[in-house]
Symmetry: C2
Subunit: 329 residues, 2 copies
C-alpha cells in the first residue's frame, strides 16, 4: 500500500503534514508513504534517519490555496499535488492525500489520476458524523456543480460500494437529498433521479430531508454538488456557531466555569463526534485510485486519520470493486 | 389592518390558533382579526363575548397536511385556507396567516391571492436568527424549485424592500448563496444570477457560503427554493440535534443536573434565539397581500408572534412599496 502525500498542501504544510505522516508510518508498518514536495523544506522536519517505509519525492512547485484550479493543474506540472497524482496514474502509488486547494485536487483527480471507465463525473464524498456514530456518506459535496439524474445514480453506486466494502455495511440504504420525504417532491433533477434510483438494484429508501441527516436514516446520501455543499457547510457552520456560543456561556463567571468543569467529560465525546479531524478526509470517488482530500486546516492528527482512512480503503480494495461493478452496468 | 387567520391549519388547530389570535387581539387593538374556519369548532373556544376586533368567518372544509397542494386548493374552495385567501383577494382582508399545509398555502398565495404584477414567481422568505440578533432574510426557501437567474434577482428586490421598509435597514446587503465566496463559483444558475445582481442597483455584496449565514454578513440571502430549503433544514436539524445531545449530557447525573441549573439562564437566551416560535412565520413575497406561513407546530405564542410580524408588515405598507418598485423596473 503506497500512499503519496502532498506535503506542501494545507494551512500547516509542510510541518504538521510531515509530522502526521511520520506518526502514521510508525503506527502502520504495512504502508509505504511517499512525501511529495520541496525536499529542502521536508528534510529538516525529519529527526534522525528517514523511516524505512517513508521516502521523499522532490517536487519544486506548489499550488496555492487561491489559485484557479484548472489553470494551476495544467501549468504546474511539477507541483507537489500534480506529482502525487502522476505517481498514482503511473502505478507508483495506490493512493494520494492532499490538504491543499480543493478545486485543484478535484482537477488533479479528474485530469491527472484519471476518471474510472464508465464514470461521467467523479464525486466528492464525506462521512457526516451522526448521533449514533455510524455516519452517513454524503456525495457529491462539490465536485460537479450541475449534475444530471444519471450521475446521481452513479454517485449512489459508488457510495454503496464504498460503504459495503470499506465499512462492512450490508445492503447500504441509499437516500436522495430532497425538500420533502414524499415521492413527487423536489426539483426537476431530483424527480428524475428518484425514478432512476427506484428502478435500480440499489437499496433506495426514498427522499431524505437535510434536517434528518444527523439522525442516520440512510447510509449513503446522494445529492448534486451544489446542494450537497450547501448542506454540509450549513451543518458545519451551525455546529461551530453553537459550540462558540456555548463556550462563551461557560466562560461567563466563576460559577459557569464550574459548571463547565462538571460537563467537560460529557461534552468531550460530543465534541469529538463533531470534529472533522476525527473523521479523516473527503474522498474523490470515481477516479482510478484512492484520492483523499484533507481539511485545509489539517493538523498532524487529521493527517494521520486521513492516512488511516486511506489505508482502510486500500485494504478493502474498493477501487477495483468499483471499477468492476461500474463497468458491468 | 384586517388579518384573516386560517383557524383550522396546523397541528394545534383550532385551539391554540384561536388562543394566540385572541391574545393578539387583546394586545393590539388596532388590528381586526377574522378567524376563518368551522364556526362550530371555533365558537366554543371563545370564553365570554367575542372581542370587538375579532370576527368569525365560517368555512366548512379543511385542507389536511398531506393533501396534494394544487388539487386541494382547486377543489376545496370552501376550506378555511382558501376562504382566507379569497378575503385578501376581494379586499376584505389585508393579510392572511396559516399554519397549515405549506404547499397549499403557496398555491393559495399564487392562485387565490394572486401574483403581484411583474413578479414571475413568488418566494418564501424567512428570517434566520443570527448571532448578533439582527437576522438574515433568506429567500426563496421552497416556493419555486427550479428558479431562473432573473427570478433570483426579483427575490433580491423583494427581500431588500422588505428589510428596508419593515425592518428599517438602510441599503440592505444582498448576498447570493453559493459554494464559495469567489466570483466565478457555483452552478450555471448562480453564475448567471451573480452577473445580473452585480449589474442591478441593489447593494449586492457577492457570494455567501451557508456556513457563514449565522455570522450575519448579509441582510438578504438569495437562493433557489431547492438549495434554500436544504440550507434552512440543515441549520434547523443541526441545532435541534445538538440541543438534544446537550440536554442528555445535562441529565446524566445529579452533578450534571447541578451544572444545568447553573447554566439555565445563560442558555435560555440562546435557546430563545434558536426558537422558531419567537421569530414569527415565513412570508410569501410577491403576491397581492401579506401572506404569512406559521410553523406547522405553532402554539399560541407562535401565532401571536406571526400576527405581530403581519401587523408590522401592514404598518410599513410593504406590499404597496413592492408593487410600486417592481412595476417601475
Amino acid at each position: 500500500m503506497r500512499i503519496a502525500i502532498d506535503a506542501m498542501g494545507g494551512d500547516h504544510a509542510p510541518n504538521l503534514i510531515v509530522k502526521g505522516a511520520l506518526d502514521a508510518a510508525a503506527q502502520w508498518p504495512d504502508i509505504q508513504l511517499i512525501l511529495v514536495g520541496d525536499s529542502a523544506a521536508i528534510e529538516p522536519l525529519i529527526q534522525g534517519n528517514l523511516p524505512s517505509n517513508v521516502k521523499i519525492e522532490h517536487a519544486e512547485e506548489i499550488i496555492g490555496p487561491d489559485e484557479e484550479p484548472v489553470k494551476a493543474v495544467r501549468r504546474k506540472k511539477r507541483s507537489s499535488m500534480v506529482v502525487a497524482g502522476q505517481l498514482v496514474r503511473e502505478g507508483q502509488a495506490d493512493a494520494m492525500i492532499s490538504a491543499g486547494n480543493t478545486g485543484a485536487l478535484m482537477t488533479t483527480g479528474l485530469l491527472v489520476v484519471g476518471r474510472m471507465e464508465g464514470i461521467e463525473r467523479p464525486a466528492l464524498a464525506q462521512l457526516i458524523p451522526t448521533k449514533n456514530g455510524v455516519n452517513v456518506m454524503a456525495l457529491d459535496l462539490g465536485a460537479n456543480m450541475d449534475a444530471k439524474p444519471e450521475q446521481l445514480v452513479q454517485y449512489a453506486q459508488l457510495g454503496s460500494i464504498y460503504r459495503s466494502k470499506v465499512d462492512g455495511l450490508s445492503n447500504p440504504r441509499v437516500g436522495l437529498l430532497n425538500v420533502g420525504t414524499e415521492e413527487r417532491k423536489g426539483n426537476e433533477l431530483t424527480k428524475a433521479a428518484y425514478d432512476l434510483l427506484e428502478a435500480s438494484s440499489l437499496n433506495f429508501i426514498g427522499n431524505v430531508e437535510s434536517r434528518d441527516v444527523l439522525d442516520h436514516n440512510c447510509d449513503v446520501l446522494v445529492c448534486d454538488g451544489f446542494a450537497g455543499n450547501i448542506m454540509l457547510k450549513a451543518i458545519e457552520g451551525t455546529a461551530s456557531s453553537i459550540m462558540k456560543t456555548l463556550k462563551e456561556a461557560f466562560n461567563r463567571s466563576l460559577l459557569t466555569k464550574l459548571a463547565g468543569a462538571i460537563m467537560i467529560s460529557g461534552l468531550r465525546s460530543f465534541r469529538k463526534t463533531m470534529d472533522y479531524k476525527e473523521h479523516g478526509g473527503a474522498l474523490l470517488l470515481g477516479v482510478n485510485g484512492v484520492v483523499v482530500k484533507g481539511h485545509g486546516s489539517s493538523d498532524a492528527v487529521a493527517i494521520r486519520n486521513a492516512i488511516r482512512q486511506t489505508r482502510n480503503a486500500l485494504i478493502s480494495n474498493v477501487t477495483t470493486s468499483m471499477a468492476n461493478e461500474i463497468s458491468r452496468k
